[in-house]
Symmetry: C2
Subunit: 227 residues, 2 copies
DNA sequence: AGACTGACTGAATAAACAGTCAGTCATCAA
DNA sequence: TTGATGACTGACTGTTTATTCAGTCAGTCT
């Protein structure tokens, strides 16, 4: 029920750390228990002894990572309202392996990841409502959806960190890197958030994308059960 | 050298379609040749006969998907400048399985995906430069980085389509769905692109994120060869 | 007809895999 | 000292995996 809050040096702890590392790097399916055992310098049988099955090990990893992030969140939450959930995530304790693991669960599904994202959206919505009251954030027609969009963009960029690094030279996974190293990501982002992307008078050319200009619902609601 | 441009009904074609479907759904490692053979209604040995190895099959899938997207791109490219590469992608021929496969290669690496993304950034940069000349797009201090950021956000949202669906009720993978169904994604996005997120006078509170307020280069250029 | 090609198959194979088992070793309480 | 507990291991097992092999069969040139 109460997992240890830092991976210790005993067998069980080393196994967990090795599993998070390898699961994050090659995926769960791409990682063998033998490889985990080798990485942790224990026998394969010890993994089963502690965690039962491979799925059990995966569940333990999920729980540990979720705990670590929750813990970190509570620390930074009081400090300063984060513009971006990425910021908070970048300073995790065992950053790189943990983030890699998180990305896997983010893209490959899993209820833990969903709860995490939902929590981030809640936070973002809350912070932006506060910012709106303080006069620094603009109001929105759909504040909840806007918060969701921003979180998704942030976490999506994290999921594509490989391409972010290639295109912008920014390594999201470097836990120790100084904030200046994020410049080429943050500068255009802030530019967009400050001034927008389009000139105000260019609304017409975009109206088409929404079908109707204003009405949120259309006449034909098509329920297409696929297959 | 010249792969067929639509999956035909002969063995090789059915195998390719089955592989794209299953690789996209369960990942390459999570898919057995036996499963592909069953899905395609052929013998396992026929897969090897046509594609040599599992990796050969994967490469053929990569090439087919890349071709399909390139083809689609050339079609829509002349028609209208796309605000968002997502738009173009949503109308692929065999949409759902193809997009699933694309997402896999996007997150799990692969040179094909990198080339694809780079091409999208090129296009976005070009279109926005045109829009700037036409007076509908605002100028940027770093147009290339801005284009990269927008593409990354778009494709990142695609990678997290599962969460987009849960949070916004928008299914990116539904190829036939009408554009209205994207409203809850597009509306806050356009809102942000039109008006921005923050009030103009709130610059101070953000300056910290960039270290220096304006200078793009600092005194200490840190070349940190990682590792 | 006969030689040849390429799509296609069932059966076999060797490796890799997750999980089992019997038992060693240290610690600690009685 | 004894006996129990739990971390830990090497050797084993049954299954699944990709890949190989030895062919069959339908067509197509000569």
């Amino acid at each position: 029920m109460s997992p240890k809050h830092s991976v210790s040096q005993d067998g069980a702890g080393r196994i967990l750390a090795a599993a998070i590392l390898l699961f994050g790097e090659h995926g769960v399916r791409g990682t063998t228990l033998k490889a985990v055992a080798a990485e942790a310098n224990v026998s394969q049988a010890l993994i089963v002894h502690h965690y039962g099955t491979k799925e059990g090990l995966r569940a333990a990893c999920d729980e540990y990572v979720a705990d670590a992030i929750r813990e970190r969140k509570e620390e930074t939450l009081a400090a300063e309202p984060q513009l971006d959930p990425l910021m908070a995530l970048r300073h995790l304790e065992h950053g790189r392996p943990l983030l890699r693991y998180l990305i896997r669960t983010l893209t490959e599904g899993g209820s833990h990841a969903s709860e995490l994202i939902d929590g981030m959206v809640d936070d973002a919505e809350h912070y932006m409502a506060q910012g709106e009251r303080d006069g620094v954030i603009k109001s929105s027609e759909a504040p909840r959806d806007r918060a969701a969009l921003l979180v998704i963009w942030s976490m999506g960029a994290l999921a594509l960190h490989e391409h972010v690094e290639r295109l912008l030279g920014v390594d999201f996974l470097a836990a120790d890197a100084p904030p200046e190293s994020l410049q080429r990501y943050l500068r255009p982002a802030i530019e967009l958030f400050m001034h927008g992307l389009m000139e105000e008078n260019s609304f017409d050319s975009l109206a088409g994308f929404l079908g109707d200009t204003e009405a949120p619902d259309a006449t034909k609601t098509n329920h297409d059960d696929k297959k």
